[in-house]
């Protein structure tokens, strides 16, 4: 429990944790937390001229171009962001870890083939590849998550590969092998446990990247499709009016920034706490 206590002592990590827990809580309790139906075009949601209402009054964060309550859309949008962020990153870490461990432990032609493939994927700009994939497969919530996972596993694979390779050469693994332990036993009992902290760090830091990628794809119109609210597509729908209704960009933008920042702060603190090599440096 020492890492947990150490983590909670860091103010920034605690701030990140609070933001994450709050967002998860609000997302889970969306039907209770949201003051209105996110899809309902409210009768008094627009001014007489048909413009969106500014924040204040009965709609705390104002309304959007269609007269829907922005706060309710943001609360339901948190579901989309978290769902895709966590699912996509979980999948990316799983793929990356599998490829990294197999390549690092098996070595030989299989190892180099897998790592050359990783190098190859590294050469594609993530957003552009995601755009191509989203254009090839028509986007739905899970397709977006899948597309993001397919462009996000590369970093994890490289880190896990390097660590696995270093671990496989260590004396205690050598000793196990000399004692007659099988490859799977060594992998399960002696290599994987040492990778847990790396995977935990990437599992946290990576969510920040996947949340940003989902928001960007949705902003470009090829991510989550309206009317399902996502923080990115709320901005996509309303951006032409940002001059007269800046709150429609400001609030969802602040939400994306806060969530991405929270996972970044948490992941960075986790890395400091879990990685003994980093501790005490600088």
């Amino acid at each position: 429990m020492r890492p947990v206590r150490e983590l909670l002592r860091r103010k920034l990590a605690l701030l990140g944790l609070v933001v994450v827990v709050l967002t998860v809580g609000v997302a889970l309790a969306a039907p209770l937390a949201a003051p209105h139906d996110p899809a309902e075009q409210l009768f008094d949601g627009l001014t007489l001229e048909g413009a969106p209402l500014p924040p204040g009054g009965s709609y705390w964060l104002g309304t959007d171009l269609l007269g829907r309550d922005l706060l309710s859309r943001l609360i339901y949008g948190a579901r989309t962001s978290l769902l895709i962020g966590i699912a996509a990153n979980g999948l990316a870490v799983a793929i990356g870890a599998a490829i990294g461990v197999i390549a690092g432990y098996a070595g030989g032609w299989l190892g180099s083939a897998l790592m050359r493939f990783t190098d190859l994927m590294m050469a594609f700009p993530a957003l552009l590849l995601a755009i191509v994939l989203a254009a090839v497969f028509s986007p739905s919530l899970w397709v977006v998550a899948l597309v993001i996972a397919m462009v996000s596993w590369v970093q994890v694979a490289r880190v896990v590969y390097a660590e696995t390779q270093a671990l496989a050469r260590r004396e205690f693994v050598e000793a196990e092998r000399a004692l007659g332990a099988g490859r799977l036993r060594i992998l399960w009992h002696h290599i994987l446990p040492h990778l847990v902290s790396t995977l935990l760090v990437w599992g946290t830091l990576g969510i920040s990247t996947t949340v940003l990628l989902e928001a960007t794809l949705s902003f470009l119109g090829i991510g989550v499709q309206p009317p399902t609210p996502s923080w990115g597509n709320i901005i996509f729908e309303n951006q032409t009016y940002f001059g007269s209704a800046p709150w429609l960009v400001f609030f969802p933008g602040a939400a994306i920034l806060a969530l991405a920042l929270a996972f970044n702060l948490l992941g960075d603190a986790l890395r400091d706490v879990l990685d003994p090599m980093q501790r005490g440096r600088h």
Binding site: D119, L127, L212, A215
Partner: protein
Amino acid sequence: MASYLARRLLQSVLILVGISLITFALLYLLPADPARQIAGRSASADVVASIRHQLGLDQPFYLQYLHYAGRLLTGDLGRSYVQRTDVASLIVARLPPTLLLMVGAITTELVLGLGMGIAAALNRNTSFDRALMVLSFVGVSAPQFVLGILLLYVFAVRLGWFPIGGYGSPQHLVLPALTLGILGAGWYARMMRSSLLDVLQQDYLRTAHAKGLGGAVVLLRHALPNAILPIIAMIGLDIGTFMSGIVVVESVYGWPGIGQLTWQAIQRVDIPIIMGVTLISACAIVLGNFLADLIAPAIDPRIKLR
């Protein structure tokens, strides 16, 4: 050195071949039928079949790939579905604004990032250092399209200091370059900080101090050059982030470069353009990595041994 270069060159060529294989496989998997696209909706099945034959779409996968790769080698990236011109010339026409934006963005991120990193390292473990590092995290976590729209709102719409998007004067460049640069600056600040802290712990700096050199001389002549060079070499690795960033930033600011071309192609599902830009970006990334590998041994001779 020669064998190191030869090996890196061979690897780069192999990666380029792999990239062309993947882009081709994606085109092959595409549900949209190019023959149908060219023939138009009302064309008869015979017409579609003959176009299909003309384009070689009835040939096996590997033959189609060889044709595709051959066309790529002559600089033919296919034709746009919507604009009816070849993709390569569309991209070439949009290249100058994008290159200009990249220069502006790289300058911004280096000035901001290195400045913040150096300031943080020299004030290590003070609250100033911590504030700068939190700021760098905010830069890294900010979605570029939100940053772009907000900068546009504050500095162009409200304050009127800069034009509301467009292209043509130095004023037009400031906000897009800043938007792209702020994200990169966060990473560079963190790398610069730890690079300078590493260098400051080296023995040769203690020697420099011991022989009586002043703090400023030690910093400017001995510490900074050694700390900055490895980071400059990383610009080559940064091209991928840029190519992704320009799509968003150019669409926000109406900057008429490759990013805007891509954004328009996304709206019209003009796959050949999206594919062409992806391919060109991937090649630029491979080239950038290769150049970074070329520079690296010159900066750090130990790399030659590997």
